[in-house]
Symmetry: C2
């Protein structure tokens, strides 16, 4: 289990690194970013995974979210993977921003065309954490948290709900909470998982909550009310109802005037990082 | 004097806007970004111009520097123009990252090929401030500061030195301080200004200091010591010597381990914004 260093640059007294490796889960080269806070030079630090949204890469969050300042202050290692396998050569996997490359939906595909490569669920939950643990001595992987944006918020919430104990904290910006019920999911899930909707449930936060899954802690979710995807794709009211019915602790904040962009994310990144830092202390 | 709104998005309680207009100085459409802090909704705020470096656009600083958080706290309007005219159609103005489009060097060209369009000095010092004053009621242009990075640090320093009273504060990240003496300048200045080196002096910080220009305040300059352009292109020791000989107040900080990137800039942006806010209060 080895990786290559693409670049390492000093940032807020720590190191912003980009790396690549041959991924067994996704059958190709994957890139990921790690922000090593200054505290990582002298001891163990908790690990916070960030999953990005449609069209994004391992660079998006690192460049646009303004997260390193507070990660340096709080002593958090940030890990940001890419959003899908790349250069798959699979017919239909490119050319549509809502499906395929850069739109992996953090699931393990089962349809013949996609099953071999589109395994972002196993990549994010198993291969990447093992790589981080083996590759970076400062990573205290027993203290891990996860968060994300949009498709990545969906990834963070579903992964946290399905892996009790693996993550001590979870949060999301403008997550897709019910892909089984919205156009993004109705387009992607059948192509990755087939037409049987039962197979979609493990990748649907609302369905997971309604089928008994719980996160031992509070879900923090921020959503802008000027987000053009709010009504058709995101539907936080479905999350609120499912969490209420399930007795799942949820802090859902509707932020007036904010849209779906990283200008929204950078505004509230501090609240999220402090939320995670408290749980990971 | 009108402009079009490309986009406006909420960010840290204020508005991140992108705009375009027909520029008389540069003879084409120019884009610029404005961050309107929350305080601009209810009163006047000072204006801080940021000039970007080679290859950059009006978006670079806005996306990568993490400046909005503190601009919102301090009540600073941030204005970021593009780095040159675009789509000029001039032979030789594209295809070289060190010259032409995205490499305007904040000067008024005098050579026949470039004189009509490459007028970034007049654009930044006259046309853009007039547009900001006319277009944004909250802009208190009597309180203006200027800063920049690399080629834009060169722009900020030379503009501040040549326009006493117009800017109350100036700072730079990794500026080109002596373009007359380094490869970037030796390539660009003759093509924009001709072979007579006397014509280059108004666009050379070290030459301006040595010819009697002063800034009524302290120049704040940060420079990473792992910057690959440090020795061949940036030469802060020439600035230090010229400032010392001139009696010009200068705070020059060599930052260990930092390179030329926005990871360097975002690390020290808070110091710069506070430096400007103090002078602009």
């Amino acid at each position: 289990m080895t990786f290559e260093t693409i670049s390492e640059q000093r940032c807020f007294g720590g190191i912003q690194g980009f790396y690549s490796h041959a991924s067994s889960e996704t059958g190709g080269t994957m890139k990921f970013a790690v922000y090593h806070p200054p505290q990582a030079a002298t001891g163990k630090v908790p690990v916070l995974y960030y999953l990005a949204g449609l069209t994004c890469t391992e660079e998006t969050f690192i460049i646009k979210a303004g997260a390193q300042r507070l990660a340096a202050e709080l002593g958090l290692m940030l890990v940001a993977p890419d959003t899908s396998p790349r250069n798959t050569g699979i017919e239909g996997a490119t050319g549509d921003w809502e499906f395929g490359e850069a739109a992996g939906f953090y699931l393990d595909a089962t349809t013949p065309a996609f099953a071999a490569r589109f395994r972002m669920y196993s990549y994010v939950t198993r291969e990447l954490p093992a790589l981080i643990a083996a590759g970076f001595a400062a990573a205290d992987t027993a203290r891990s948290g996860i968060f994300g944006h949009s498709m990545g918020g969906h990834g963070a919430l579903t992964i946290a709900l399905k892996n009790p104990g693996a993550y001590r904290s979870v949060s999301a910006f403008a997550p897709i909470v019910a892909p089984s019920q919205v156009p993004w999911g109705l387009k992607a899930l059948p192509r990755y998982l087939g037409e049987d909707r039962v197979a979609w449930q493990p990748y649907d936060t609302v369905a997971l909550l309604r089928s008994g899954h719980r996160f031992d802690g509070t879900l923090l979710v921020d959503q802008g009310d000027a987000d053009k995807f709010l009504e058709p794709q995101l539907k936080p009211e479905l999350l609120a109802a499912a969490a209420k019915d399930a007795g799942q602790a949820l802090t859902l904040r509707l932020q007036p005037g904010y849209d779906h962009s990283y200008y929204f994310i950078q505004t509230f990144i501090e609240d999220h990082l402090r939320h995670h830092a408290r749980a990971l202390a």
